[in-house]
């Protein structure tokens, strides 16, 4: 295969190096160093916290997610119990092995809870969001010891706990936050609403292979 590599790269080099100013290569190298922003739409730029949160909620709901706002992290289990009961969904759930979730007062509810990796028969899953992007109502979840990727996709009902302080305006702000927090994780999942398909007779149906429902619990103050 290394023959193929040298041949392909050789062909590319021969085609593009013709007439390429030396400065162009320096531009490319500095682009990787400084990762400059391209045009960022005004919609979610320079918003105050409240406007940013409101935009996030509007856009997420437009993408068929539901959002509940709670005051403090301690309210999360009760909100989830309420949500599941209202829709007549099982009160049994798998939560990602995330300390932020483990420390919530689950015992105040009748929810049957397991922390760990989701299996096929887990009907409801709870995970925590790394951040969220107001611009498009999108959750940003990252993989790691506390967040198995499959928990975001296997359960039919996906509940995501999001701290209001983690709602950013744009993707560019999300990248900055990620770079500051940690090395590039194995997986970054941007999730905008529940799974869907229009592949049968062009009719939109929610709940294709991933979750049928996405419920976001937005915690106003810490978690």
């Amino acid at each position: 295969m290394s023959d193929a590599r040298d041949e392909i790269l050789g062909r590319i080099r021969a085609a593009v190096s013709d007439g390429r100013p030396d400065a162009a290569r320096a531009d490319a190298a500095s682009r990787l160093e400084t990762h400059p922003r391209n045009l960022v739409p005004a919609r979610a730029r320079d918003l105050g916290a409240e406007a940013r949160e409101n935009l996030f909620v509007t856009m997420a709901e437009e993408a068929d997610a539901t959002v509940a706002r709670v005051a403090v992290g301690g309210d999360v289990p009760r909100e989830i119990a309420r949500y599941l009961a209202e829709r007549n969904l099982p009160a049994r759930l798998v939560a990602a092995p995330d300390p932020k979730l483990e420390n919530l007062p689950w015992q105040e509810t009748a929810l049957e809870l397991r922390h760990g990796i989701a299996a096929d028969d887990d009907a409801v899953g709870v995970t925590a969001s790394f951040a969220a992007i107001a611009e498009t109502g999108t959750l940003m979840l990252v993989s790691g010891p506390a967040s198995p990727t499959r928990n975001n996709f296997l359960p039919e009902t996906h509940v995501v706990v999001l701290r209001a302080a983690d709602v950013v305006g744009t993707y560019e702000e999300a990248w900055e936050r990620l770079r500051a927090a940690r090395a590039m994780p194995r997986i970054v999942n941007f999730i905008t609403g529940p799974s869907r398909t229009g592949d049968i007779a062009q009719k939109l149906e929610l709940g294709a292979h991933g979750p049928r429902r996405l419920h976001i619990v937005l915690v106003e103050d810490g978690a």
Binding site: A4, R11, V16, H35, T138, R186, E205, A208, H209
Partner: protein, 471 residues
């Protein structure tokens, strides 16, 4: 997939007579992706400026493609991934099979990938004893029907729900034959249950890549169903099918392209799932594949660099040009005879299967320009189709009548005095012959035109002579 692009005219005639297909295409062109794109674009005042930035960025990448690919590769390897460079489809197929064999894999799940269609990976794996299962619902439907995709983002858009139900009954033999399958929801639930077992059982998951990020060595997939994520998360091995023009420099650049992609493709603000994958499972991870491989395919793309077709390498496969093309809307994707239909297919297919077999495609255009006007990276598709027509003429591939006709016209057009005499003579003769009706129902050597429409008769005087008289 055997190309039938040579038979475009016959394919198109058949498609025009297919009432069910016309119904599906009508729905799509009337209220489908195009209408939704218009709404999404209207909501984002910066969209036109983003298109210009997308074009500039892709041009910058192509100008430095060797540098960005090498950077990307270094970062993939640093994260424990493997890169398999493949000159052509045969090398790519062999590389995927070798990965499957090397890991003892038997079953493969697959997310939607146009590179996968291009290299016909499914037929090859099946011939070698490995069962690939398509998991995108549209791809799954056409797989059980043994058809190719008719659209690059909606592969089963040509089918009515009754046809899907029929295919499900034929393919899912273990289920109750009396079960109701009249609604899309019922079929979706059936497919979800069947494919869920496949996701859990597969040894290898194959996905495409919408973008590759040089800065991080990542691949990005964009889906709505969540099938791509289950495909790449659950099996032991993840294989990414990519090609050289998919790379972007940084995450910021990926954001620019993602803002363009979903809006252009489906009119969504953002697709449901956009997933950025960087290498295999890490020691601290609780799940994910043990191996991460990328098939890096050239297949004729590098030959477009530096030439008049280079602009085509900006393409991000959104499908907007199909959704706005009156020819695609009339005949559908299968008429184009290979994996890439519509305006982008008319430009790309001759590169990939040869102009001799695909020359009909760049001719199947009225050059109305809608494709170029909606392209998120401003590819001048009509101009590129015209380049193919010129090459077709130069290589003497066009039918003799067309070549002689064009040669005769060129001879006249280069001699203005003679041209004026000939055209005013023709205008007078045709004007006289058509004086009673004002149009022709049939005309010698013009049956291709008059078979389906009348030819208006000239008024007798050419423009030049009328102009001269008026002065």
């Amino acid at each position: 997939m055997e190309a039938t692009s040579r038979a475009f005219s016959a394919n198109a005639a058949r498609a025009l007579g297919d009432a069910q297909l016309q119904d599906a295409l009508g729905t799509m062109m009337r209220e489908g992706f195009g209408a939704r794109r218009a709404k999404a674009v209207a909501r984002l005042p910066e969209f036109e400026a983003l298109r210009e930035e997308g074009k500039t960025l892709k041009n910058h990448v192509l100008q430095n493609l060797d540098f960005y690919l090498e950077t990307w590769e270094r970062n993939v390897i640093a994260r424990g991934g493997y890169v398999h460079w493949c000159r052509d489809a045969a090398e790519a197929r062999a590389a995927v099979l070798a990965i499957c064999h090397g890991t003892g894999a038997r079953t493969v799940t697959k997310g939607k990938s146009m590179v996968g269609e291009e290299i016909a990976i499914n037929d090859y794996l099946e011939a070698n004893g490995i069962t690939p299962v398509e998991t995108d619902l549209g791809e799954y439907i056409i797989q059980i029907r043994h058809e190719g995709p008719s659209h690059i983002i909606a592969p089963a858009v040509h089918l009515a729900k009754e046809q899907v139900a029929e295919s499900f009954r034929a393919a899912h033999r273990g289920l109750d034959p009396a079960r109701p399958l009249s609604e899309p929801r019922q079929m979706l639930d059936e497919a979800r249950a069947i494919l869920r077992r496949q996701f859990l059982a597969a040894d290898v998951g194959i996905t495409g890549a919408n973008f590759l990020v040089a800065e991080t060595g990542s691949s990005i997939i964009v889906t709505n169903e969540g099938n791509g994520d289950l495909t790449q998360t659950l099996p032991r091995i993840h294989v990414v099918l990519a090609s050289i023009e998919k790379v972007v420099p940084t995450l910021e650049d990926a954001a620019l392209m993602l803002r363009l992609l979903a809006r252009s493709a489906t009119g969504q603000e953002f697709s449901t799932y956009t997933t950025i994958s960087t290498g295999p499972r890490r020691p601290e991870d609780t799940d994910g594949p043990e191996q991460y491989h990328v098939i890096m395919l050239d297949n004729g793309r590098s030959a477009l660099l530096g030439g008049e077709m280079q602009d085509m390498l900006r393409c991000i496969r959104c499908g907007a040009c199909l959704n706005h093309c009156p020819v695609y809307g009339a005949v559908g994707g299968h008429a184009y005879g290979w994996v890439y239909p519509g305006p982008m297919g008319a430009v790309l297919t001759p590169t990939l299967i040869g102009l001799a077999d695909a020359a009909a495609l760049p001719n199947a255009s009225t050059f109305c320009g809608r494709c170029e006007s909606v392209c998120p990276v401003k590819i001048p598709l009509p101009k590129l189709m015209r380049h193919w027509r010129e090459r077709e003429f130069d290589q003497k591939l066009a039918p003799p009548v067309a070549r002689w006709g064009l040669a005769a016209w060129a001879f006249l057009a280069q001699r203005p005095a003679l041209y004026r005499v000939a055209s005013s003579l023709a205008a007078r003769v045709l004007g006289w012959a058509g004086r009673s009706r004002g149009r022709f129902r049939a005309l010698p050597m013009a049956s291709g035109w008059t078979r389906v429409r009348d030819l208006p008769a000239p008024e007798g005087q050419s423009f030049m002579s009328q102009w001269a008289a008026r002065r």
